[in-house]
Structures are given as C-alpha cells and as structure tokens.
Amino acid sequence: MTSVVEVTKYERVFLWKLLKEMILIRRVEEKAGQLYGLRKIGGFCHLYIGQEAVAVGSIACLDLKKDYVITAYRDHGHAIACGMHPNPMMAELFGKITGCSRGKGGSMHLFDAEKHMLGGNGIVGAQIPFATGVAYKIKYNKEDGVVLCFFGDGAIHQGAFHESVNLAKIWGLPIIYICENNQYGMGTDFRRVSSVHDFSVMGASYGIPGKQINGMDVLEVYEEVSEFVKLAREERMPSLLEIKTYRYKGHSMSDPAKYRTSEEVSEYKKQDPILILKDTLIEKGIITEHDYQSLDEECKQIALESADFAEESDEPPLETIYEDVLA
C-alpha cells in the first residue's frame, strides 16, 4: 500500500525526517514494551505503536518555537515527534533522576517545556481545557502560534471537551483539537458508546470546521492538518479533526485486548503507517531498501542506547520528595 499523496513535491530531507521519527517511535516503544516485561518500567504504560503517523504528521506542521503540543497519557510518540531525545524519555519510564520529569511523572507525564511539549496528562480529557488556556495566552499576547490538542476517542464525550470547544470558538482561539480515534477507549469500541460514529461532525455543534482524516498515512495527516493549522494561525479559527488510527497493542501493557479479533489487528497492520511511507518512497525512487534498513538499524541502536542510559542512571535521591511541589 502506498500514499495517495504526490510525494515528489516534498524535499527528500523532509520525507526522511517523517520516516525516521515514525521508525524511532516504533523502535523505542518496542523497547519500552520489552523492558516493561522485564519489570524495569512499572505502572501504566500506554504504547503508541500503530499510531505513529498521527503525532509525526501533525507535529511536522508546527514551529515549536511558537506553537505548542498537549496530549494525554499515550504520550511517548508526541514527545519524540516534538524532539525529545529518547534518553530522558526512557529514563522517565524507568523513574530515574535523569528522566524528563526527574522520575516524578513516569510514562504518562512526559513534559518538555522548552520544546513546548506540555504533557502528558493522565485524566481523560483534562488536558483539553488546559490546552485551550495555552491558546488563550497566544491570543492575549498577540503571538503567532497555534496549539495542537490531542486526545482519544474516549475523551471526546467528556464535558471538558465540549466546554473547551465552545470557549475556543467564542474567543477565537488558535487551537486544533485532534481526536486520535484508535477505535477503543480502553476496552470499549467507540461505536458502542458514541451517538455519532464520525466525530468530526461534532465541530458543527460549536460552529467550527471538522474533518475526518486517515491517520495511517503520514503525508495525508501532514497535508490535512497543515490546512487547519493555517486556518488557526491566520484566521484564529479553531477546528476539530478526527484522525482515524489504530493501536496494535492493548490499551496499556496489562491489557490482553480480547475485545477485538486478531484478524482485525492483522488487517490494520497491512496499512502500517511506516510501511506505507517506506513503500511509497521506494516506489518513487526517493530511498532504497538499503537506506530503509540502515535507518531502521540506526533507530534500533538509539532505542537500545536509551535503555542503557536509563538503566545506568541514578534513582532520585529521597530528599527530592519535597522538591517540585511548590515554586
């Protein structure tokens, strides 16, 4: 399967970046899954495997010097797409002092204030009003930025979402609400719990544009999200995008995912976002199979090094307990 987008209009360096980020996320996530099995990582660990094109394609539209990203607890992919190095990310999963949140946050709470990656929120939908406030700051200071606010299909029914979208519209805030519909809110098929099966229509309730986007093709994601980023940046018009995607793994590491068939998973793996981009680039002669293999090896190596970095890092000293509570 190849991309429907005409790739030749893009610079090779840009396409390479998209491919690399997706492979890096995949390999780091696989490593995290493996280390979770070895009990190096504890608690809740929600892997992003299968959804890589959503974070990578969307965040590629941004200038993170002025734009912001806020997401929920399935946040590893967004952190890497925002430029967080896998070392502090993996160290955070290990709970080490070298972690991006000094071992205070763990898997669900990755933050990088400098790179404008503002979490990593563990309460379903709680990041949505927060992200709307970040967009209000942009308006208040007459800045040129936009906010991408990611959440899952489980969050879209929360009041926090509906309150926020209304506020963004009445105040004209530069924010794009991105519902990453991976089709299961934990173990619940979204069709069982939603009055509509096309979430993008909810935008109309608040007088903002909405669109459903194929989240398995990173270039489609990039092109579509770019349009709405432009709308937010230039016209201060918020929007609601439903990006259809699929997670290959369970909701978290403890979920055997018995609520879906292995045939369904296999079917989605055929439209794997990395394979789509890889096949497209090879078909168009932009990269070779050898290029791909080298890149994949490089990413595996980075993932491996992140595990070593985390393993070798120190535990937080006990006296840090009372740090970071108040400013």
Partner: protein, 326 residues
C-alpha cells in the same frame, strides 16, 4: 486610614495588580459586563477591556482549566468562581492540573493562578449553596489556601496571592463582602502563611479564620465582662498553617478552642486541634475544644441553619468548658 468594605478591598487589590502587571487577568461568570455577581469586579471591564476581564459561559471546569493552561505559559490569571459551591465542577482541574503539573513535570512549570470567590454559608440558601469547602482544598499538596477575614487582610493577601508563583485558593464569604475595616492608602502586602493575633489575652486561645472571626471577637467581648481574657489567633492562611503563632499563644494561655465553620470531620479545625494536642501537650490544662458546623447538610429554615453553625453562645460555652467553668 480610610474605612472600606471587604468587597472594595478585593477590588483594589485586583485593580492595583492588573495595573502593575499586564499578565494579570480576571475570568469567570459575570465578572465583566455584569460587574461581578457580588460586584467585586465593578468597573474593571471598563478600565481593562474584555481580554483582561473575561466573561465566561457557565463552564467551571472549562474556564478553570483555561486559567491553568494560561498560567503555565506565563500569564497570571485570577479565576473567579461565583461561589465555591460551583468550584466542585472545576475540582478536577484544580487537583489534577493546578496542584500537580509542576510536580509531574519535575519542576518545569510554575502555576501562578488565583482561584477566588465566596465560600461558606450565607443565609436561606439550603444545602447546595451553603458549603464551607476549605478542608478539601487545604488537603491538597501543591496548593496554597488563604482565608482572610478583614478588608485589610483581604487586600494584602490577595495582592500576595496574585504575585505568588503557585496556585492559591482564596476564600471569601458572601456575608463578609459588606464588612468594613481600615485599609491604608499606601501599598502593602501580607505574606501567605502568617497568622495574626486579632486580640491579645492570657486565659484561653481561640484559633479561627474567615467569617467566624466576627463571632469569636463578639464572644471575647462578652467573656471579658466576666474577666475571662481571650486571645484570638486568626489563621488567615490554611495552607501552610502558621503553627508557631498558634503554639506560642497556647503555651501562654494553656487552653485552646478552635472555631471553624466547616464540617467537623477531617477539617482544618480538627487538624489544628490535633496539632495543638500533639505539640502543646505539656502546656495544655484542658482538652482542645472544637466548634464546627453540625455534621449535616445545611437546611433552608433560618432557625435550623443558624443552629447548625458556630455562634457566639457556642463559643462562650466552649471557652468556659476549657476553663472547667461549665
């Protein structure tokens, strides 16, 4: 010194801080065109415009979260809740975001935000509109909680709260808005975490805060006629609590009564009583008494609702009990 109302003191604090710092803005229901449900923000919309005095729809969770997001990226929002009864709609944002984001990010963010509005019972409002909810907020690490009872304290503490880099829960009371007191023309700040002795005395320490301060001072006057000399410690801040000021007073009087209009279970009052019992054990000549609201939702009927709350008579009786006079 001019005498102004508690309401006016709050307005002056907000006005002065908005004037000195353009990152300060006010948002909430009816704060702008309506000039505030309790007229605290009177005139501010005209002075600062609609982006800095921001009317919101009735969406406590939404606009509270907006304030928190804006705070994390450099603004200093003042979120007005029309009453603390409605803050419960926003509790997730306060507990899970405002109080946690700095911690969960390993100290990457400051959250300079004030959540303010009237707390506690007024009159004839029944159960949903008469709640004193400070114990819930005081329970949460990552928050600061203040509850001034005079116009002077309200102004000085609100200015400090706005300048503080942490989330501050600022408790007012509907019945206090019209209270008057002397407030100087020149600028002053009151530090968060400092109690204040509102009356000096030698026989019994009464620890209180917020609206019950008035009945405590009235009770002290009555007791003085019987030669009972009460010292009144006004906590002003509930998180952190100024323990040293309480202990110093109790070690002088050897007796302690705590007056708190919240419910008695797991309250600020019960916490203070435990602190005093533990840390002043050798100084105490009597058990610590606690006057709280009755442990029931507040009824509408006026006679019943008054009977549920701390009163001058209850305070007088508790002081006498601590002196083994009753």
């Amino acid at each position: 010194m001019p005498e102004i109302t508690y309401r006016e003191a709050l307005r002056q604090a907000i006005d002065e801080e908005m004037e000195r710092d353009r990152t300060v803005f006010l948002l909430g229901e009816e704060v702008g065109e309506y000039n505030g449900a309790y007229k605290v923000s009177m005139g501010l919309l005209d002075k600062y415009g609609p982006e800095r005095v921001l009317d919101t729809p009735i969406t406590e969770e939404g606009f509270t979260g907006v304030g928190i997001g804006a705070a994390c990226v450099g603004l200093r929002p003042i979120v007005e809740w029309m009453t603390f009864n409605f803050s419960i709609q926003a509790l997730d944002q306060v507990l899970n975001n405002a109080a946690k984001l700095r911690h969960m990010s390993g100290g990457q963010f400051k959250v300079p935000i004030v959540f303010r509005g009237p707390n506690g019972p007024a009159e004839y409002l029944s159960s949903q509109h008469s709640q004193a909810l400070q114990s819930m907020f005081a329970h949460i690490p990552g928050l600061l909680v203040v509850a001034p009872a005079t116009p002077y304290d309200a102004k000085g503490l609100l200015k400090s709260a706005i300048r503080n880099d942490n989330p501050v829960v600022f408790l007012e009371a509907e019945l206090m808005y019209a209270w008057k007191g002397h407030v100087p023309d020149e600028e002053y700040l009151i530090p968060i975490g400092k109690a204040d002795i509102k009356r000096n005395g030698l026989d019994v320490t009464i620890v209180t805060y917020s609206k019950p301060l008035k009945i405590v001072l009235d009770a002290a006057d009555i007791l003085a006629q019987e030669d009972i000399d009460v010292e009144v410690v006004d906590l002003r801040s509930l998180r952190p609590i100024d323990e040293e000021t309480i202990y110093k007073s109790v070690r002088k009087t050897n007796r302690c009564v705590v007056v708190d209009e919240a419910w008695p279970v797991c309250s600020v009052g019960s916490h203070v009583a435990w602190l005093v019992s533990k840390n002043c054990f050798d100084s105490l000549d009597a058990p610590v008494e606690v006057i709280s609201s009755e442990d029931v939702p507040l009824p509408y009927n006026h006679r019943l609702e008054l009977a549920c709350q701390p009163s001058v008579e209850k305070v007088v009786k508790a002081v006498k009990k601590s002196l083994y006079m009753e």
